[in-house]
């Protein structure tokens, strides 16, 4: 019954963990998952049976490797017990992984100008997105946001696919000092953006959606809402979206998201 594109449940293996700045980059074997990856999808990892909620993590990259078929690269910021467990496992640890989950970013049919906005680890899925957009001939501007340099994904790599890269940190340790809202309107205008893609906390997504609206662009935002199952079973991760007819309905951010149209998300979080 499994669709070709549906998620897989596999026992994978942690191949390596590399610390870069405030992040841990995990290389994970999860047979079959990389082949189904599209930017904006994620995996849900078990961090032990006593922590019942799986931990959702963006797929940052898929890499072909010698013996293992392709591997996944995940970027983890240590915060609570689940991520602490994840980043402290030795290479060789078996990982119970489900993925790829969720709806990916939609790609424009025409080669239009795109602005990609990402904060911290959440910028992860924007890198493979940028590659695919470039393959389609889109002109890409990337805006990387972080509290400080340690939480910034590589701006160097961003330059490979992007024509222009803007870096904004809250403490000014690298790039421009400030918040994403400070730079968006100008960036969108300069880029002549037709589509804005955003990933990060709600403030970033909301700001990106609002700037897109002002600029007359489409927006696609990748939400990070707490998830219990990440597989659509529990109806715990609902987010209100404005339907076609103007009324609000609840969708599950794990299965109907995590990528949603920015102009549809009801940002105040009010439900019903």
């Amino acid at each position: 019954m499994t669709e070709e594109r549906g998620p897989l449940h596999v026992t994978g293996e942690l191949l390596a963990t590399k610390r870069i700045g405030a992040h841990h980059h995990l290389t994970v074997v999860a047979r079959g998952v990389p082949e189904r990856f599209r930017p904006g999808t994620f995996v849900a990892v078990s961090t032990g049976a006593e922590r019942l909620a799986r931990r959702p993590l963006w797929i940052h990259r898929v890499r072909p490797t010698g013996g293992y078929g392709a591997t996944l690269e995940l970027v983890v910021e240590e915060r609570g017990p689940g991520t602490r467990w994840l980043v402290s496992q030795p290479a060789g640890t078996r990982l119970d992984v489900i993925g790829p989950l969720g709806r990916p970013f939609s790609l424009p049919k025409e080669p239009v100008a795109c602005v990609l906005v990402g904060e911290g680890y959440a910028a992860g899925p924007l890198f493979p997105l940028a590659e695919r957009l470039r393959e389609r001939g889109c002109a890409i501007t990337m805006v990387l946001v972080a509290p400080d340099e340690a939480h910034l994904l590589s701006a160097l790599e961003a330059r490979r696919s992007a024509r222009a890269v803007t870096v904004v940190t809250a403490d000014g340790s690298v790039g421009q000092r400030g918040s994403v809202a400070d730079v968006l309107d100008e960036t969108l205008e300069r880029a002549g953006a037709a589509v804005v893609y955003a990933a990060g906390p709600d403030e970033v997504l909301h700001a990106a959606a609002a700037a897109a609206e002002r600029a007359g662009a489409w927006s696609q935002v990748a939400l990070e809402r707490p998830m219990a199952c990440a597989t659509g079973l529990c109806h715990g991760c609902t987010v209100p979206v404005a339907g076609e007819g103007g009324h609000t309905r609840l969708v599950r951010s794990c299965t109907e998201g995590p990528v949603l149209r920015g102009d549809r998300v009801v940002w105040d979080g009010g439900e019903a």
Partner: protein, 278 residues
Amino acid sequence: MSLALANPVMVASGCGGTGRELAAYGDPAELGGFVTRSITLAPRAGGHQPRIVETPSGLAHAVDLHNPGVDQFLALELPWLLQQGVTTFVSVVGRTLGEYAEIARRLGRTPGIAGVEVNLSPPDAAASSVFDAREPFHAASVVAAVHRDLPRGVPVLAKVRPDPVRVAETARAVLEAGADAVVVGNALPAAMPDGRDAGLSGPAVRPLAVRCLTEVRAALPDATVVACGGLATVDDVTTVLELGATAVQIGTALLHDPTTAHRLVGALAAPVAGEDEA
């Protein structure tokens, strides 16, 4: 009336999505039974965020009966289940006895369902807006109302409160009112960290669910009892089957691992139960 399940492993209400989501990980028709989330007469938006938080070996949830209402359910969710050959039990909950009866009538017009599960025990804030069936007498009234309005031949499962002190008394009352089996029990009444009402489920609650089972078995040795609450491993399931349960429902364990029910079916079917990863 017997439940006539192909195997004893069922999906607990509210933990299998609409059924479709589960299909990515295994054919739901291969499970003993699939219980839908609880369906109300009118659609319900459910509780505010956060709806589910992790607790030690459990989940606290205030999903609060989010569901599309019986008509949308019959139009959009049930047909897929029946078409796939899933042994489907529809869970129902109402604000009044009249609502219970009305839902039963609408379900009764739909051939193909394996049974109706009456949710007598929502643990969270829902308790304040659904019919209060905490007294055994009221629980029995609900079962009687549903039973009366369903066609003969559609089994009624009564899902009772996991209160060790009164569970046997309640089980007796609902069986006398026409239930074919008792589901023991549900999420426990609990609180979110911010103090809101919630339900607590998962392996954390298993020893309490097992106690409810032993209370009901001791008082009603001939009753058909479905064990529910915290079951996750082969060991858990064989334990409750040995204690006299006819079938089991798997809830929270599926949220952690959507292949759990299928793995259990496989392990129970194997000539020697496989090694158990606790």
